[in-house]
């Protein structure tokens, strides 16, 4: 029980730290977002009056009050889910813009993380079990090489061969332009076909970590005495491989779930930009290009918090799976 209490406590402290960091970072940087926004407005030919300036200041949460009050306002607004308006899209609030993009990324990142975990772990189990074999060296060398690939390069390669050269799969977007997003079967099918290339890119780039990690754990676990005992008892190879070794070797891999998620999210920013996928990553880049600070800050907060929640769940799961860490 103490394990879980400690984990829950740590979770809330971490969330608080991340939220606070999101507040502090922009204020540590040179120049103010207000100034940048005003300059952008002026450059686009709009008339900037004092009223506009004040409106922007209020919106950005940077009025001339003390830092403490700003911080309080910031926290309060988070609890009320009020994040202001975005400049990138006309007449759209930050929350609504993110809500529209979030499902795309959630589905893409969620599915690819789980698939990469499953496929990578299976490959790792096999490579570790049959170590020094031909399959093992192919899998290991392949993973090593692919871990050197930046996600965007792999994405571009796939785009070139699968999309442009052979026209097997659509080049860009999350769905065929002209369709309206709905939950109908035809739309979901269309969205699925569009998501294949981004998904493959993400899976391949994140596969390597799982494969190599699992292979290492397998080889370490294979040296344990109970494996020898199982062999001496005449158990079948498959029983030993899956029920004795893989089950125990899997545990450390669960903890690296959080870290893997971080790289998948980073990868998804790149992949979404290449494939013009209408998710949070594309939105983040739109915000960055428009110097849309409220949108950018909120997206970063959302990404961080959702990552922390996933890691927290993985941690709890680890506690359930492995009684030793609960002590």
């Amino acid at each position: 029980m103490r394990y879980f209490v400690r984990k829950v406590g740590m979770f809330f402290v971490t969330i608080w730290a991340a939220v606070t960091l999101n507040f502090v970072v922009p204020r540590l940087m040179p120049g103010s977002p207000v100034q940048a926004t005003l300059m952008r407005l002026a450059a686009s030919g709009q008339v900037v009056t004092n009223a506009t300036k004040r409106a922007i200041e209020i919106q950005l949460g940077l009025p001339h009050t003390s830092l403490l009050i700003q911080y309080g306002d910031y926290l309060l607004n988070i609890f009320r889910f009020r994040f202001g308006m975005t400049y990138s899209i006309t007449d759209e609030s930050v929350s609504r813009a993110i809500m529209a993009a979030a499902p795309w990324t959630l589905v893409l990142v969620g599915t690819t993380t789980v698939l990469a975990f499953l496929v990578g772990t299976m490959l790792g189990v096999y490579a570790g079990w049959k170590r020094q074999s031909r399959v093992d060296s192919i899998v290991t060398v392949g993973s090593t090489v692919f871990s050197a690939f930046p996600p965007f390069f792999l994405g571009l390669l796939l785009l070139y061969f699968m999309g442009f050269k052979y026209h097997w799969l659509p080049l860009t977007g999350g769905y065929t332009p002209g369709l309206t997003p709905s939950l109908s079967l035809s739309f979901l099918g269309n969205a699925f076909i569009h998501s294949i290339l981004p998904a493959i890119t993400l899976i391949i780039t994140s596969l390597a970590g799982w494969v190599l990690g699992m292979r290492n754990n397998m080889i370490n676990t294979l040296g344990e005495d109970y494996v020898l005992f199982g062999e001496a008892n005449g158990l079948r190879d498959k029983t030993i491989a899956f029920l004795y070794v893989a089950r125990n070797a899997l545990l450390p891999n669960v903890t690296s779930f959080g870290l893997a998620l971080g790289s998948v999210i980073g990868g998804s920013v790149l992949v979404e930009s290449i494939f013009g996928y209408p998710g949070v990553g594309s939105l983040l880049l739109t915000a960055v290009n428009n110097r849309d600070y409220p949108l950018m800050q909120t997206i970063f907060l959302m990404i961080t918090v959702s990552m922390l929640v996933t890691i927290f769940v993985a941690d709890l799961l680890y506690g359930l799976l492995d009684p030793r860490v609960r002590q």
Binding site: L21, P26, F152, I265, S273, M296
Partner: protein
């Protein structure tokens, strides 16, 4: 340790004399054996690197990595001699496919791609190695201090490390780079260095914690040596391979992250680097115009450079553990 395995048969005046030589004495007194006799102290950086390279050379994977890295270092040093044209001059016909004068074609602005690739090696190498070094220095100082000072210092530093570990890397870099609003190569280097130290710090911390309870460390601290001296003179020399491993790990991540940021156009797109060649290729729709070289050449260079770091890392364990060296 004296063993009598090395027997020398010397024939003196027809009489066979068996001279038994202790194994350790039989070795010629080169750098390596000298330092194994004396107390470990850090030699000059040049000797240190040479010794490290000669140790790594014995490992096959590391050797391949060293050759690739050596090639890139050679290219970046010799860039003015090797490059056939200027990297920035726009005096060629734009959108040329590879031909006799421009071996890799020209960009949309009429620059020679091969020369850009050659000069771009400098930026990628500098950012990769520089950011890797910065991240390792931060990781070492935080890891050593928090491993050696249990209690509140360790708690705070460990919490910071864990927080930095779970923050989504690429989005964080994008956000910080956008707030900084300077887009030089150095900015990218510092952002990557300051965000990529957490993994290394965690490993170094746990290794320091185990070393702390060893006899030689207790002896040093009981004999009245200052904290800094114990940490840097007693513990640090035992961490060479860990520090090197975290350096190459951070450098791999840095090469990929830097090219990702450049590819997204964060950073200065007018700096000649592999990432910016890709940025312009994507901007000019190089695939659609059939200029696939613009994507392939820098992409493969990035993969090779990060692969070289990964490969070198395979042999890094042998640096401080002679038992692992291949005969």
């Amino acid at each position: 340790m004296i063993s009598f395995r090395n027997k020398r048969r010397d024939i003196i005046k027809g009489v066979t004399v068996e001279i038994v030589v202790a194994e350790d004495d039989a070795r010629p007194l080169n750098e390596e054996s000298k330092s194994s006799y004396n107390r470990p102290k850090l030699p000059g950086p040049f000797v240190f690197i040479l010794r490290a390279v000669s140790t790594l050379w014995r490992n096959k994977k590391s050797r391949v990595g060293l050759v690739i890295l050596g090639f890139f270092i050679f290219v970046s040093v010799m860039a003015p001699i090797l490059a056939p044209h200027s990297a920035t001059a726009t005096n060629f016909k734009p959108y040329q496919n590879p031909n006799a004068t421009n071996w890799l074609g020209t960009t949309g602005n009429g620059q020679d791609v091969l020369s850009q690739m050659i000069y771009g090696t400098r930026v990628s190498l500098l950012v990769g190695l520089g950011a890797g070094l910065l991240a390792t220095l931060i990781a070492l100082s935080i890891g050593l201090v928090s491993g050696y000072r249990p209690g509140i210092v360790d708690e705070v530093l460990s919490f910071t490390t864990n927080l930095a570990l779970v923050l989504p890397g690429l989005p964080l870099m994008i956000v910080i780079a956008t707030y900084l609003r300077s887009n030089s190569m150095w900015m990218i280097l510092f952002v990557i260095g300051f965000t990529g130290w957490a993994t290394g710090a965690r490993v170094i911390r746990s290794q320091t914690a185990t070393l702390r309870s060893r006899d030689f460390v207790s002896a040093a601290s009981f004999s009245g040596e200052r904290l800094l001296r114990v940490v840097f003179k007693e513990i640090l020399p035992n961490m060479v391979s860990l520090a090197a491993a975290s350096f190459f790990g951070a450098a791999t991540a840095a090469v990929i992250a830097a090219s990702s940021l450049e590819f997204l156009g964060i950073g200065n797109p007018n700096t000649v680097s592999w990432g910016s060649i890709l940025y312009w290729a994507e901007n000019d729709n190089a695939f659609l115009t059939g200029q696939w070289v613009l994507v392939f050449a820098p992409g493969i260079a990035i993969v090779l450079l990060s692969l070289s770091f990964i490969l070198i890392n395979f042999g890094i364990d042998t640096l401080s553990n002679p038992r692992l060296r291949e005969k």
